[in-house]
């Protein structure tokens, strides 16, 4: 057990934008409980330079949290050409929804595609499972 164990990991602010994905959707049609559905829904895609700044590699676990919830996700590098520092992308599903605020300012429409959250490296935590979410 090293000293590093007791240091808090630095936190980085992100805006998460969710989007649809045909492969995740196909998996969902077959079963909401399939491994592929869980794998695709629990990935967060980050800007390549942001990954260097935070010190995570593709496949590492990261903790993403805000006042609404906390999830452990798998970090992957963005597949987009344009740099997008400070913005991260997720496929919409229960993992992203765990971070969406209940407060809609009275409009009844949650901010599904504009989620503010902080991200930090995870010390060997496993990616949150579907059972842990609800």
């Amino acid at each position: 057990m090293g000293f590093g164990q007791f240091l808090t990991e630095p936190e980085f602010k992100f805006i998460i934008v969710t989007h649809r994905d045909i492969f995740q959707n196909t998996a969902q049609e077959s079963s909401r409980f399939s491994e592929q559905y869980a794998e695709l829904s629990s990935v967060i895609r980050l800007d390549k330079d942001d990954m260097k700044k935070i010190g995570v590699k593709a496949g590492d676990s990261v903790i993403v949290k805000n006042a609404s919830g906390r999830v452990v996700l798998k970090a992957e590098s963005s597949i987009l050409e344009q740099p997008h520092p400070g913005t991260a992308f997720m496929i919409n599903g229960p993992w992203a929804n765990a971070l969406v605020a209940a407060d809609t300012g009275g409009t009844g429409v949650p901010a599904f595609k504009n989620i503010e959250a902080v991200l930090s490296r995870s010390k060997e935590e496993k990616v949150t499972s579907l059972d842990e979410l609800v």
């Binding site: 989007h19 609404s68 929804n97 429409v109 599904f112 609800v134």
Partner: protein, 414 residues
């Protein structure tokens, strides 16, 4: 059996050219549909059992228990509807009226505002068939059909050689993408991608409005005015333009006014239409049906003889403010699709799920009643994303009840 072609209920495109192969009364092969549609039509691997409190029961017992829960609740909610036929939706509205219940659907936090604006004639619209035959300028705004509606580009909006667009996408059509990222649709449609910051859609609409009025278009995110003027020129010259509005656009607009202004301006010089990129196959159908019955597309409370409507009657606010004390969910999985804190609250009240397949909500439900998969195990009608009514055919035999029949039986019990 009907030889087809059949209609796919994988999304609100309702592709009507589907061929299937059957073996032992199961769909074993699906041709023509997209990946998602094939998966929908072959059926799920975890069909929902008929249960009360987790124990397998026959459907009479489950229906009686569902009726008891709804009858005893002071503020029951009837929610879902996007994956049901028009006939089932009609019955669900009848049930809500009879119960004095709250009724809402996914359009409440999805494409509702646009469908409502179209039904109130505030936005000009057209059909997908008109798009195929006539559209020369196509805007995908906050939409990524390559993932959400995979055959959109090939059936209607970009690739087809329509009657007046014989040279198809190569020469006759220009596709424009306005999005926060280079989506897969943007990759397919070439160089007309306008990348904007998250939530900047109203700013971009205003800039475009200025460009269309021959003013210098300024944006808070410093997009080159020349690019916006170039876009305005393309739009002005359009013979038949169409905006496919995705959730990226809808969620960025606190009010639809910037969109109304833009559509009005576009229609001063050319013909522009808007079609909402509706997800679930018959979400628009529910909105049409409820609108016809109550004058509102969603968020309705049948309070005695009166009808209450507004954001406070939305599924989100009703759960958030602890109003509802029981819910019947038809063809939807709110525990997966609602914000986590709201889903946790919903899971604590008695739930009844009607669905062909097991999902997160059904596993937390007090009563689950399996239903026939529409377009495969039962027929009916539905409304496509562009407002056109489509007839669904039954492909295989089943002894499962339809949503419509289940709701009717629950009403009889009540």
């Amino acid at each position: 059996m009907d030889k087809g072609p059949f209609v796919c209920t994988g999304c609100a495109l309702l592709c009507d050219d589907i061929a299937v192969e059957l073996q032992d009364n199961r769909v074993t092969r699906v041709d023509t549909a997209c990946r998602k549609g094939v998966s929908r039509m072959k059926g799920c691997v975890s069909p929902m059992p008929c249960t009360v409190d987790g124990k397998t029961v026959d459907e009479n017992v489950a229906i009686r228990e569902a009726a008891r829960i709804l009858k005893e609740a002071r503020h029951p909610l009837v929610f879902g509807h996007g994956n049901s036929t028009l006939e089932a939706q009609q019955k669900a509205i009848e049930l809500a009226r009879k119960l004095g219940a709250h009724i809402d659907d996914t359009s409440s936090f999805c494409q509702g505002p646009l469908v409502e604006a179209i039904l109130n004639n505030k936005i000009p619209t057209c059909t997908l068939d008109e798009v195929r035959h006539m559209a020369d300028v196509i805007i995908f705004w906050g939409a990524d059909p390559s993932h959400s509606h995979p055959r959109h580009l090939s059936m209607y909006s970009y690739f087809p050689r329509g009657k007046q667009r014989q040279r198809g996408w190569e020469e006759d059509r220009t596709a424009i993408i306005i999005d926060v990222r280079k989506s897969d649709t943007a990759v397919i449609c070439g160089d007309k991608l306008y990348e904007i910051p998250v939530g900047a859609d109203p700013d971009f609409m205003n800039a475009l409005l200025n460009a269309l009025s021959n003013k210098v278009p300024k944006t808070p995110f410093n997009m080159d005015p020349k690019r916006i003027l170039e876009l305005a020129n393309i739009l002005k010259k359009a013979e038949f333009g169409v905006v496919f509005a995705g959730l990226g656009m809808v969620y960025s607009l606190d009010s639809l006014d910037p969109l109304f202004s833009l559509m009005d301006k576009l229609n001063e010089t050319s013909k522009f239409h808007l079609i909402p990129m509706v997800g679930q196959y018959n979400m628009r159908g529910f909105d049409h049906t409820l609108f016809r019955e109550t004058g509102h597309i969603n968020r309705v409370y049948f309070r005695g003889e009166e009808i209450e409507h507004g954001p406070q009657q939305s599924v989100i606010e009703l759960i958030s403010n602890d109003i509802i004390d029981a819910a019947m969910i038809i063809g939807s999985d709110p525990l997966a699709s609602l914000p986590g804190p709201i889903a946790k609250k919903l899971a604590k009240i008695p739930l009844i799920t009607i669905d062909p397949c097991e999902n997160l909500t059904s596993r937390r439900s007090k009563v689950t009643i399996p239903s026939a998969l529409s377009g495969v195990e039962c027929d009916g009608t539905a409304i496509r994303m562009d407002g056109v009514e489509v007839v669904l055919k039954q492909i295989i035999e089943t002894n499962k009840l339809t949503d419509e029949k289940i709701i009717a039986r629950i009403m009889e019990e009540i």
